[in-house]
Structures are given as structure tokens and as C-alpha cells.
């Protein structure tokens, strides 16, 4: 339970929508109560009727109650299910907003984490896990506990000793066994999780690497790769299953013991006269429907480790407080130059210095290409320019303003287009309009026309309302770049950062795309990170970085004439 000590993702929300929560628990309790009461009243009805009362009216009330509870149980259950989902989904909306805001506050989060798999997918799954935590563990457990307390109390009022005795048995059923079983299963579940993730890796190796397996002819190794893992996982799972079966059996034994107690108790205390004896069947039979509420508690507990991971992961994300200096408003039209003076940057004190003494002066309207081997820090320079990263020394300035002082209005100054531009799963026109939500449909369509997509999009059945699909899958890589470019045109910021927008495209698509880029962005200042020399003629300055310094710099023409290495590279690129 240490998990909850510093928790801010579960506890605070229990207090939210308190009324609804209480009604959910109450309804759950009522459902169980009606189930028991149905058997109680029908047992009583029969027993009473068996005494053959002269007047049928004597069993009129129990008959009426039997019907009422018969209708009450399903009705309460139905409402309870609706209300509990409603509560959970309301909390989910809050949790999602909070997760979004937390991540939003921390731009560097993305820089650190974008490599480590699909962290976003993981976090959004975590929120779904919390939904199940409530629906499958918290609610049923709380209801079972309330039932245990109230049931024992009711018996206790009648006969205190018997009440306490039943209470103890019920505590074993809903508290002791669940906690013990979580304690026993914890390590095994942990191990299963590891095994499962390693199995995932191995199956991925099997499937994504299948070409290599086939060529190598190592069929047996291919089959055996996951075999050992599967075996261990299955044997561990078998142990869990066997444990679960035995545990459920024990739970039933305890329940049987309670039932026997009820039988003995009723026989001993309720057989003094017929009026009392008429309640025997009622009391005993009302016990059985309660197993539906009591036995699943252990099951709910069993899922706890899975939820714990989610809670821990969510609690690890902390909002980052704003440490920006006083913000200055810079009108886009006033932008004159961008200066990087002797910039040094390292990700952390124990990693090597990535950017060393980087100096560059970029004037309005200038176009600069940045080249260098991968891993040299080209993208890092773009992040420094944007202000997402802060250099250890040196300064980055726009006109004479430090880059950190214009962060609030940075979208007015910078546009970014990267390798895999993100398109939202909505229509083309909505995606482009994100560039500037105040522009008219006509403006948006004009931007789409300028990037050369008009004919394509008008040929589609839904035209501009065509959905781009998940991650823009409806369109090819080149087309996605163009849609993102149209977005940037609407954004109309004076500086455009291009981060290898054409990598992975074939040369003809690449040529056409670069032609469009530099054509429509003609009046912008462009900093273009690229991996080869296709389209290099469009820029004014080429900067080659290596891990020590700027290796060469100049206009493409000048470099081609003076620098043999550049000449070689250029010739190779052009196949000359």
C-alpha cells in the first residue's frame, strides 16, 4: 500500500463526484441486499404457507416483497452498472486532461523519451487501467466489505456471539484470503511480466527478422528462439492457475462452513415455536446469493499488481514549473537576424559534449543547410534554436532578445517541419487549419493549392473533408509532408526549421518536394537539416558539421569550386 503514500492520481479523484460515488456503492449494496432478501422472503413465504394459514392475506406481504425484491435486484444492478461507468468515465476525462497538461508543461519530456518506444501509448493505456481498477477491484471490494459489516451487524443484533463468529469467517473470506493470495502471487506475477516482455522481444525478432531467418536457413533456431521462454512462462502461469483454482476451492469451503453454521444456528435457536421456525429457510437461503458478492473479491485483488504499475508510472510524471525569464513580445515582421554565439551543449554532465563552440549568424530571408553524420547533433541545434533545450554556455538570440524570452509567442516566429510530420486523425482541411485557426476555408484551400495537392484532394470522394487516417496513413510520405507544409504556410512564421523532411523518399519525389518547399517558402528564413546534397542549390549557405567543429561552410557554388571533399560528395550524390 506504499503506492498510495504519495499518490496524486487515484486518491484525489475518489473525492470528486462524491455524491455519484456514494450512490454507486449504495446501489451495489442494494443489489446484493435484494438478492438475499428475495431468497429470504420466498423462503419465508413457503414456510409460512406450509403452515396452511386460513387467510391467504397472511402471506400477502411476503409475496409482495418477494416480487419487489425480484424486480429490485436486476434494476439496482442495471442502474449501478450505468452509474459506476458514468463515474469512472467522468474521472477519466479529468485524468486525461491532467495527463495532457502535465506533459504539455514539459517540452523536454519528448526529447528524452521519444526514443524509448511508445511512451504515449503506454500512458494512455495506464489511464484505461485506472478505469478497470475502479470497476473491477475498488467497487466490488468496497461493496463486499460493506456487506460483510452490515450482514454481521444484523446477525449480531439478533445474537451477538453468532454475529461475531460469522463476521470472523467472512473476514477470512474477503480480507485474509485476498491479501494472502496477493502476497503469494506477487513475485510470480512480476516474473510473468518480465517473461512476457521478453517473449514479446523474441516474437518480434521472429517476425520482423523473418527475411534473415529464411535466408540463413536456421529454421530450428527460429522455432527455438521463443520456446524456452514460452515454456518458463507457461509453467509459471500454470502455477498461478493452479493456485487460483485451489484458492477458489478454499473460498468455497469457507462458504460451506458458514452455511453449516447457519443451519446449526437456525436449528438451535429458531425452533422454539412455529412462528420462529418459519424463518429458518429464509435465513439459510438468504446466505447463498451473497457468494456472488463475496467470492470475487480475491479475483479483484489479483489484478492489483497490474494497476500498481500504472499508478506508479503516472505518479512519476511531474509537471515542470515554468522557469522562463520575463517574456517579450516580438512582432514577426520585426525579425531581423538569428544569432548563435559560441554555443556549447551536453545532455547531462556525464555524457560527452555534443555541440562545441557553435557560432552562426542567420539573417532574415537567408537559407541555410546543415549537414553532418547522424548523431552529430543537427536536430539538437534545432531544439536549441527553438529554446526547448538550453545551452550550457553561449547565447542564442533573435534580434537582441534571448530566445528564452520569446517562448510564449514562439509560434509566431518559428515553424517546424520534420521527418515524419504529425497529422491528426481528422480531415485534411482541419489538419491544415491548425496552422491558423482564424483563417477562412478559402485561405486554407489556397494553401493546399500552393503545396500542389489541389488536384489530388479534389479527386477524392470527400475532397477536403477526407480523413487523413491514423498518423496520416491515408496519404503517402511525400503527400503528408505537403499537408504539413500547407499548415506551415497558414502559420506564416518568418523562420522555418526543416528537419530532414525528405529522408526515405525516392529522389524524384524528393526533387519535386524540395522544389515546392523552396518555392512557397521563398520569403522565409530557412534552416534545413538534410542528410545529402539533393536540392542543395536552393540554399545560400551550406554548413558541414563533424564531431569537433564546423568542417566546412560556404555557398554551394563556392564550396563546389574550392573544396575537394564537397566536390567528391556532390559528385557521388549526383552520380557524376
Amino acid at each position: 500500500m506504499k503506492v498510495f503514500k504519495h499518490d496524486t492520481w487515484v486518491k484525489p479523484y475518489i473525492k470528486k463526484y462524491k455524491g455519484l460515488l456514494v450512490s454507486v456503492l449504495l446501489l451495489g449494496l442494494l443489489t446484493s441486499f435484494c438478492a438475499a432478501a428475495l431468497m429470504f422472503t420466498s423462503g419465508y413465504t413457503i414456510d409460512k404457507a406450509a403452515t396452511q394459514p386460513v387467510n391467504i392475506l397472511l402471506i400477502y406481504v411476503p409475496i409482495l416483497l418477494t416480487r419487489a425484491f425480484g424486480i429490485g435486484r436486476p434494476t439496482f444492478k442495471y442502474i449501478e452498472r450505468l452509474k459506476s461507468h458514468n463515474w469512472v468515465l467522468k474521472v477519466t476525462s479529468n485524468l486525461r486532461t491532467r495527463l495532457y497538461k502535465t506533459l504539455e508543461s514539459d517540452a523536454s519530456f519528448f526529447n528524452e523519451h521519444h526514443k524509448s518506444g511508445d511512451i504515449m501509448g503506454l500512458l494512455s493505456e495506464d489511464i484505461n487501467h485506472l478505469q478497470n481498477l475502479y470497476l473491477r477491484t475498488v467497487f466490488p471490494t468496497v461493496i463486499a466489505y460493506l456487506l460483510t459489516l452490515l450482514g454481521s451487524l444484523a446477525l449480531g443484533i439478533y445474537t451477538p456471539a453468532f454475529g461475531i463468529f460469522v463476521f470472523l469467517l467472512l473476514v477470512i473470506e474477503v480480507v485474509v484470503v485476498p491479501f494472502v493470495s496477493v502476497a503469494i502471487e506477487r513475485n510470480r506475477k512480476e516474473r510473468q511480466k518480465q517473461l512476457k516482455s521478453s517473449l514479446y522481444t523474441k516474437l518480434t525478432d521472429n517476425i520482423l527478422g523473418v527475411d534473415d531467418w529464411i535466408i540463413s536457413g536456421r529454421f530450428n533456431d527460429f522455432k527455438n528462439l521463443s520456446a524456452k521462454n514460452v515454456k518458463e512462462l507457461n509453467s509459471s502461469k500454470d502455477k498461478s492457475k493452479s493456485f487460483r483454482r485451489n484458492r477458489d476451492f478454499v473460498l468455497q469451503l469457507i462458504f460451506a462452513a458458514i452455511a453449516i453454521c447457519f443451519l446449526v444456528f437456525t436449528n438451535l435457536t429458531m425452533t422454539d415455536n412455529q412462528e420462529q421456525a418459519n424463518f429458518v429457510a429464509a435465513v439459510v437461503l438468504s446466505l447463498f446469493p451473497l457468494s456472488d458478492t463475496l467470492i470475487p473479491v480475491s479475483q479483484g485483488f489479483e489484478e492489483w499488481p497490474q494497476y500498481r504499475d500504472s499508478i506508479e508510472r503516472l505518479n512519476k510524471i511531474q509537471p515542470v514549473s515554468d522557469q522562463l525569464p520575463e517574456q517579450i513580445e516580438l512582432a514577426p515582421n520585426d525579425f531581423k537576424s538569428l544569432d548563435l554565439n559560441d554555443v556549447n551543449f551536453e545532455y547531462s554532465s556525464d555524457s560527452p559534449i555534443l555541440i562545441k563552440h557553435f557560432t552562426q549568424n542567420i539573417k532574415r530571408g537567408e537559407k541555410l543547410a546543415l549537414l553532418g553524420p547522424s548523431g552529430i547533433g543537427k536536430t539538437t541545434i534545432l531544439q536549441l534554436i527553438l529554446g526547448d533545450l538550453v545551452p550550457q554556455s553561449g547565447e542564442i538570440k533573435i534580434n537582441d532578445i534571448d530566445i528564452q524570452a520569446i517562448q510564449n509567442s514562439r509560434d509566431k516566429i518559428f515553424s517546424v517541419l520534420n521527418q515524419k510530420p504529425f497529422l491528426f486523425n481528422t480531415s485534411v482541411i482541419n489538419n491544415v487549419r491548425l496552422g491558423n485557426e482564424n483563417r477562412s476555408d478559402a485561405d486554407v484551400i489556397e494553401a493546399i493549392e500552393r503545396v500542389g495537392l489541389k488536384d489530388l484532394i479534389e479527386s477524392l470522394p470527400d475532397k477536403y473533408n477526407t480523413n487523413v487516417g491514423e498518423n496520416g496513413a491515408r496519404f503517402s510520405g511525400g503527400e503528408q509532408e505537403r499537408i504539413a507544409l500547407a499548415r506551415i504556410l497558414l502559420q506564416d512564421a518568418p523562420i522555418v526549421l526543416l528537419d530532414e523532411p525528405t529522408v526515405g523518399l525516392d529522389p524524384i519525389t524528393e526533387n519535386n518536394l524540395l522544389d515546392t518547399f523552396f518555392n512557397v517558402l521563398n520569403d522565409k528564413t530557412i534552416i534545413w537539416v538534410t542528410h545529402h546534397l539533393q536540392g542543395i542549390k536552393y540554399v545560400d549557405q551550406v554548413v558541414f558539421m563533424n564531431d569537433e567543429k564546423i568542417e566546412m561552410q560556404g555557398s554551394p557554388k563556392e564550396l563546389y569550386q574550392k573544396n575537394t571533399h564537397f566536390q567528391e560528395l556532390y559528385k557521388m550524390d549526383q552520380g557524376l
Binding site: I46, N206, Q252, V416
Partner: protein, 579 residues
Amino acid sequence: MIDKRLFRLPGTKQLLLVLAGLTLLQAFVVLFQGKYLAEALVNSWNQKALQTIITPMTFFAIAFILRHLLNLINNKIVENYASKTSENIRSKLLDRVYDVGPSLLSEKGTGNIVTASLDGIDLIENYFKLIFTKLMNMTFIPPILLIYIYTQNIASGITLTIIVPLVILFMIILGLAAQSKADAQYHQYTILSNHFLDALRGLPTLKMLGLSKRYAKNIYTVSDEYRRRTMNTLRIAILSTFALDWLTTLGIAILAVFLGLGLINGSLPLFPALVTLILAPEYFLPLRDFSSDYHATLDGKNALSSIFSILEKDKQENSDNDLQKLTWDQNSSLTVKDMIFNYADGQNNHDASLDIKDIQLHGYQHIGVIGKSGSGKTTLIRTLGGFLNPDKADIKVNDQSINSLKQRSWQDELAFLPQSPYLFSGTIAENIAFYKPSATEKEIEYASEKSGLKDFISTLPDGYKSIIGEGGRGISGGQQQRIMIARAFLANERRILIFDEPTAHLDIETEYALKKTMKELFENHLVIFATHRLHWIKEMDYVIVMDNGKIAEQGTPDSLYDHNGAFSQLINNMRGDQI
């Protein structure tokens, strides 16, 4: 609800027999449990002493325990079967991936296959577990209890008999209504439910556009809209469970009233009335169990049928042992005539289907394959590598005729270097020795020296033992290609090298540095090299120009440069304007 193919799985029939026996037994135990409980209660009602109820109570307890013991055994058998059978299916799925893998992957998507082989198998296991037990309980328990109830009281028997078809009718009607409502909303539903993930992934973009702060409000609005819609659907979707619950509990209530009236009339003693009342919930229990976990069952069923469809997909008739063992050398030759390959409908291919008239390769030729994207380069390369089976082809290796290059002895001669190399989780040494796992440390070191990896590996703290691949150390694109090259150097007895745009993702300087190494590897190998990087053409002595799945032109680079054909045009388009 039940896939007929299930019964064809090995062991299913025996399982069903065993389960049938156990469930039958269980039905009687349930019956006895009710009977003796009723007896005990009747004695108490008659105000008899404790001794009189000890016997029925003991029998009740034994029946109760036996019932759950049988349940335990039942579960154990089903769970063992489920885990064994689903494991078996996974193994078959992997065989399938190996057999027809690459074309299967391009059709179903790699992600889908990985998910199917992991989560899909779990779903299936769960499905087996649920379906068989529930099915058996439904088949045996209610009828036996019903027969007994008829013997006790005919009116109650009739009441219980009538309720079941009523329940089923209601569930079908309501189920259909819910289904059609859910279907109508499904599309928007998925968009809404994925909206949050979409927004998280797009957060950097929103930030760049200056929208991220304002968008937080949108998250709440959309999420709440999702809640509203979910609630609307849920209201109807769980109506069918409600109807079942309602009818069964009301059934018990009505029964109690009837029994009560019968008792007052004196037409019925207490025992049959009580035993009927006790057994009524047991009678409905299997039906209620069957309808709960409906979604888990449905998911499992879908997972199973999607895996079945993979397993049953057109089995290849070609044997991959037609071609005798060969050693490719200077005098070897490969002729491909009239080769047709068509992608199946719906296959998500980004490349053209093939219609190749004539290709002749021999000895240690270096053949470049060029063309715009989607021209069929990759398809051609993959048919030559034996990853794809042509629909029709007349192929000759040396003098042997075959109709597909998916031949073990052909692939034993190949080394394949793709555009994005796949690194296996394991050490660098294991990755280098992938074609030749028996290689000695010396051989691996030699190969990595040849491929220019040595310096890089020496900078790693664990050297050759460094773990790479999934979850391992990040390796740059250039180094990944070098590992592939080292693989080919190590397996030097494989004399055919197939490259599929190996440098497309690399930056120019890395490519420049890599080129020297690759040229060395080319020596004494038949090289088939698909590329759109023009400089490689200079290293080739023969070029095939692809266009729309056909060979537009082929010949030596010089002869192709000389006249203004498909080759020259393509080169001009690719090159673009110069400085």
C-alpha cells in the same frame, strides 16, 4: 458464438467427452446439494432436534464440497487443454510465418502478426477456457435439474421451462438492438476513444503551432463527449443482461408465489416446494454464466478466426527442395523467362506487380536495378531472393529448371541486405554471425575489421558482447548496415549478394565512407543491387531499368548512357537541377 473449426483441433473431442462426464456428475451433485439442504430445512421447520438434521447436513456439505472439487478438476482439465492448444496454435503460426512469411507480413502487417502471436494467443486461451465449460454446464445442468423438479412439482417444472425461451428471445431482441446501435456509432466511437492518444502523440506539433495550451480544454470536451456516447450505448447494451437478470429473478419470485399458493391449498407438502425453490437459482446459473463475459468470448472468437484465416491462407504447393545443392561460381548462370507476379487483392503493397520477359545473370556480375518508387524494383528483388513465389515463371539455375526461387539451396547461397536492417536482440557478435552461428571469435573479428566495425566495437564497454537490438544500445543506421556487411563477409561462401536500397536512409558522408567497404565485398560475388542512389551505377556492369513492373531497358551502363531511352530519362529526373 462457436467456431466450427474448433472441433477439428486435436484433443477437442476427447476433452468434450471428459468434460461431459464431469459435468454430468456435477449436475447430480448440485441436485443432491439442493435436496439435502431442503431436507435439513424441513426438519428444522418441523422443529425437530439438531440430531435429525445432522445426516442431511453432512450430505449437503459433502455434495457442496464435491461440487466445487469437480469444478476444480474440470477447470484444471480445461485450462491444461487451453494452454496446450493455444501454444500449439502459436507454434503453427510461427511455422506459417517462416513458410510464407514475407508475403504474409506484407498482407497482414507485421504489427498485427506480433499482436496475434502474443495477445491473440492469450485471448484464445481464455476463450477456450470459457466456451467449453460454459457450454457443458448449459447442456447438462439445467435439463437434469428440470427433470427432477418435474418429478417434484409439475407446475414449477412448466414455469421454469417456459422462462428459458422467453429469456433467449428477449436477449436476442435486445442484443440485436444494442448491436445495431453500437454499429452505427462504432466509427465515431473509435475516433473519439483514440482521440486522446492522437493528441498526446501530436503534442509536440500542437506546441509548435502554439495551440497546445488551448487544446487542453478540447481534451476534456472530447473525453466528455465520449463519455456521453458510451453511456448512451451502454444503456442499451447492458439491457440484455438486465432482461436476463430480470426474468430469472422474477422467475424465482413467481415460483415462490405459486409454491406458496400450492402449499396453502394443501396440494403440496413443504419438501418439494423448498427443493424447487433452492434448485431454481441453480437452474438459471449456467444461462447467466453463459451470457456474462460475453465480450471476452467475442474477443477470443475473433482472435481465433483471424489466426485460423492466416493458417488456412493458400498453402504453397511448391516444394523448396526442387533445386539441387549448388555452389555459385564464375560459370554459374540464372535465367528467368516470362515471370509473372501479382499481389493478392487487398495486399498493402506499395510496389507494382511483375511481368518480366527475360533476365539473364551469370558469374560474378554486378547488376543494378533502378526505377522510380513503385516501379517494381523491390518486388523483383524479393522474387529473385525467393521471398515471393511468382504466379508463373520459367527459371533456370545452371541447367536445372524450376518455377520459383524459393528454394533452400538457392537461399543457402544468398546474403540479403535490406533498406532497414533488422538487428536481433542479442550481442553484436551474435548479430554478425547470424548466417553462421558456429563462427569462431577470430572469424567474427576478421569480418568486423573488413566491414569497418572494429573501431566502433572497441569503443563499446562490452565490445563484441554488447547487447543490441530491441531494448539494447542504440546503433546508428550506418553501423547497422556495417553489421549486415560483416555478416556477408563472414559468410563468404555465400556468393550471391542481394541489396535492397541499402543506403537510402544514410547521410551522404556515412554513405561515402561505407561505399569503399561495400565495393570490397562486391568482389567475386554475384551482386543484385536495387537502388535509387545514382553513384552506385558506376560500380555496376549491367543495369535493369524497371517501370511499372516491366523491364523498360537493360544493358551495360555505357550502352544505356549512349542513347536517350528510359535509363537516361530516369537519371535526369532523379538528378534534378544542378548547382
